[in-house]
Structure formats: C-alpha cells, structure tokens
C-alpha cells in the first residue's frame, strides 16, 4: 500500500450560515482545501463525500465544475466524513489515483435531531412513546458510567468549560465565548445529568481534505502530514446503542473499542504515543467515556485527569483542541472531517492561540454515532 498524505485542508465555519445550502458550504470548504494544496478542481481525479440531511454530495459538481470525475456518495451517519476519508485513502493507497478530495457537509434544522422509527428499523410505537430522542441514550449511558466509575458532575462541567475556552481561538467554531463552570453546572437540565451547555447542538458546516500520494505530495511541497490509520467499525454483540428497546443482560464491547484497536494496529503505535486527540463529544460525558474507550486512561481515571487539566491544550494529552462538537456544533456529515482538519492543522503548527506546544507529531480522531458505528483516524507528521 502506498503512503497517503493530506496535502490540503479547508473548512467552512460551523454554526449557522443563513442563505447558504449545506452543499454550498461543502463547496466553499473544497475550494479552500484545493487552494491550500495549490491545486484546482480539474486536478481532482476522484471525490468521496456525503451529508446526513443536506443532500447528495455528488451534485457538488454543479458548484465546482463538470470535469467528469468519479464522485462517490457516502451516507454513513456520524461516520460519513470518516468513511469518505477511508474511500479516498484507499483510492490512493491502492495506487489507482494520485490525488483526490474528501468532502463532508451538513445543514440541520434547529432543535434536537428528528429521528423517525422506520429509518432505524424500529416499530412506530417506539417513536410515539417518546423514546426516539438521542439525548436520552447519551444521558443513560453516562448515568450508569458515572455510578460505576465514580465520575462527578464537576468533571462534566470541566469538559464543557474546556471546550468553550479552546474554541475562543478557533475561527471555525460556533460558540466562541468562554462559559464558567458554575454557569455550566447550574444551567437548565436537558436530560439528567446533562445541562444545556453539556450537549452539542445540530448545526451547519463543511470540511474538505485533499489527499495525495507520496510522489504527488513531494511535488506539491506538502509531504508533512501522513495518514497512518483510517478505520470504521460497526457494533459488536452486547454494546449499548442509541434507540435500543432492549439489550442483552450479558454486556459486551463497543464499536469504539473495535475501531480504536484496529487503528492502533494499522498505525503500529499505541495510545501512549499519541500527542493530541479529537474525541466524539456529543455531550461532555461522551468525551469522558471515550477517553477510556480509546485507551488513553482507565475507567474512572478521568476524575484525576480533568482535575489536573491533563486534557487542556498544554496538558499531557490535549483533547478537542478546537472545542469539539460542544463548541463547533454537530453537522453530522462534516464533524468527522473537522476533527481530521484540526489534527492536520495542529501537526502543521498552524493552531494559533490553540496550538498544542512542543511540535506534536501524532494526532488521533474518533467519531461515534447511531446506530452503533465508530471511525478512528491517526495522523503522523
């Protein structure tokens, strides 16, 4: 397999862009990524892309140009961006192409995600009775984790406080004002134990990454950031997932555990070798649980980690350096690529006020979502 490099990165700011479709936000990101690489749309030999609720990505040729390139639509829930990246990575790693683009974008209405039972092969009564609400799942997974492993509400507050603090320095973030921990802890309860500042909100945004072979990357002078691993996994038996009318008493693994293990094996390194990480933070407890599921600490150790600020920008493992989903919002099709964008930016030393110190060399990203999928990438400089 050929080495694959990220040679161009582009983002359309997350949050709300009135008057612009999700697809147009994706096209903006693509233009920025190509400009960053010193390339143009006719140079793209292929594209992979997707959104969850903003239409088919291949219609982006109407915005960018009718060059006849092969463009593959991806629709894979929260792993849409990660899957687009994997498709692009394979297209180059296989030697079939030299350069191409992965694009993720979305535009969701305000308020909670509006899932319908039929989309998840569930009976109608399940939605009628009020169970089709994603926040319930995250709250109940967290409630049990906190009870079993001694995680305090204060730690939930610390995660959210860090997100908004980091986002002050991230141009593409949505919520860029600091929020103090007392405000976070005492805010309106949405789904116990989570207050409104501890949940991300559905949002809009677009991200694009231009990938290239080693030879092409050297030609462009952009052979700095290499993809060491890119994997997606579905759920194993006994995992606890969103929209589950029942689950087995014998508890099992989680899709994140599978994706994480496969990514470390592919990269040939372990969690101790990672310099910074972007972890799925649908709510602040998810970041805490995902610290352990991705191998960075033991269950329950997060109390000590957060009390000591070890996931801050200047900590031993900075986590969600751009504020994550909590501060950027969640455009489902774009979030996975936002994480990789942020990691590539950090490895190039362009993080500005949120730059991780001491020239980080390895960066990890992780998404998780319905109906039990996880995607992990590892980049290396």
């Amino acid at each position: 397999m050929e080495d694959v490099y990220i040679v161009g990165i582009g983002i359309h700011p997350f949050g709300r862009t009135n008057g612009m479709s999700g697809l147009q936000q994706g096209a903006n990101a693509a233009r920025a990524a190509m400009a960053d690489a010193g390339l143009e749309w006719p140079d793209m030999q292929f594209g992979f892309g997707g959104s969850d609720s903003a239409g088919n990505a291949d219609t982006i040729v109407n915005e960018l140009g009718l060059t006849g390139l092969p463009f593959i639509n991806v629709k894979n829930g929260c792993a849409t961006g990660g899957s687009a990246l994997i498709g692009s990575w394979q297209a180059i790693a296989s030697g079939a192409h030299d350069v191409g683009i992965a694009i993720g974008f979305d535009k969701h209405p305000r308020g909670a995600f509006n899932a319908l039972p039929a989309e998840y092969s569930l009976p109608e009564w399940y939605g009628e009775a009020g169970f089709m609400v994603t926040t319930q799942f995250f709250a109940m997974k967290l409630q049990r984790y906190m009870a079993l492993h001694g995680i305090s509400p204060t730690s939930l507050g610390r995660v959210a406080e860090k997100a908004f603090r980091n986002a002050v320095h991230a141009d593409h973030a949505w919520r860029r004002s600091p929020v103090d921990i007392d405000t976070i802890l005492n805010a309106q309860m949405i789904s116990d134990p989570l207050t409104k500042y501890m949940f991300c909100s559905p949002a809009e945004g677009g991200v694009a990454l231009v990938l290239a072979s080693a030879k092409k990357a050297r030609e462009l002078g952009r052979d700095q950031v290499r993809i060491k691993a890119a994997v997606v996994r579905t759920r194993p038996p006994g995992s606890f997932e969103v929209f589950s009318p029942c689950m087995d008493i014998e508890r099992g693994g989680a899709p994140t555990l599978l994706a994480s293990k496969a990514a470390y094996e592919m990269a040939g390194i372990g969690p101790q070798d990672i310099d910074l990480a972007q972890l799925q933070d649908t709510e602040s407890g998810a970041e805490i649980m995902h610290m352990a599921e991705n191998g960075f600490c033991g269950d329950g150790d997060q109390e000590e980690w957060l009390a000591n600020g070890w996931t801050n920008i200047d900590g031993r493992l900075p986590v969600n350096t751009d504020g994550g989903c909590l501060a950027c919002g969640e455009p489902i099709g774009a979030s996975g690529l936002r994480q990789v964008y942020e990691n590539a930016l950090q490895l190039r030393g362009l993080g500005g006020g949120r730059q991780v110190p001491d020239n980080p060399r390895t960066a990890y990203s992780h998404v998780y979502g319905a109906p039990g999928i996880s995607g992990v990438t590892i980049l290396e400089r």
Binding site: E124, R144, D192, C246
Partner: protein
C-alpha cells in the same frame, strides 16, 4: 370512548400487567418487543419485576412526529430495567420522585394512560414503577 394499547403484542393488562418478549427458537436469546418473524421467534411473558439499570429525565417535549404524547408536556423519567434471566428493557418510569431514582432499585411492571388519540380514545403504555413493599 374505549382504551387500547399503544401497539398490539407489546403487553397484556389482565389478569396482571405482563410484557411480551420474544425468545429465539435456536439460541434462546430473549428480546423485547417480540420480532414479527414467527419462524425464528416465539412470544414469551417477561418477568414482572427487575432492577433499575440506568435512567434519565426527559425534560423537553420530544419532536412530533414521531412523539404522540400530550401537547401539554410535563417531564417524565425513562430508564432501562434489568429483568432477571431475560433482557434489559427500555421503559417510562411512572410514580417516581426524580430525586430518588437510584441504579439498582427494585422496579415492577405497571401500565399507564399515555395519551388520547384523535377519536378521543385512551392510549395506554407499559411502564415500570418502584416496588412498594407492604
């Protein structure tokens, strides 16, 4: 005006409230609700008592569709209840004090009035409520 369950085949109200699960004919795995494929799944009555596995409180009105509960919303508790040697079921929790919900507490099956449909008929739903020893 009549009353009917939110869906057929989920639970019985008499002679006592009973949830109807499905047992896989080959593996013996028990799930809720009972899947429709009768060649692979047979209906079984689930245990009526169990313990609270996790919980939260739904503090805002879920979006409609699909939610068909009362327009005049009041927060309700939901949770998962572990039914011994069977499965862990998702359920509304009725008759609970939100501040006193604890993982591991004893719960038992009940039924409750959920809403009124367009024809004025009562719609009923299963729920679990704390066991009151007396």
């Amino acid at each position: 005006m009549g009353a009917s369950a939110i869906a057929e085949g989920l639970f019985r109200e008499t002679p006592e409230p009973t949830l109807i699960g499905g047992r896989h004919r080959e593996t013996g795995r028990i799930v809720f609700p009972c899947p429709g494929d009768a060649t692979r799944w047979e209906a079984v009555d689930l245990p009526r008592r169990g313990t609270l596995w996790s919980w939260t409180v739904q503090r805002f009105r879920p979006k409609s569709p699909p939610y068909t509960g009362p327009e005049d919303f009041t927060p309700f508790a939901i949770g998962y209840v572990e039914l011994p040697s069977a499965t862990i079921v998702e359920t509304q929790l009725s008759g609970v004090d939100f501040d006193r919900l604890t993982i591991g507490m004893a719960m038992e099956l009940t039924t409750m009035s959920f809403s009124t449909d367009a024809d004025g008929n009562e719609v009923r739903l299963y729920a679990f409520t704390p066991v009151t020893e007396g």
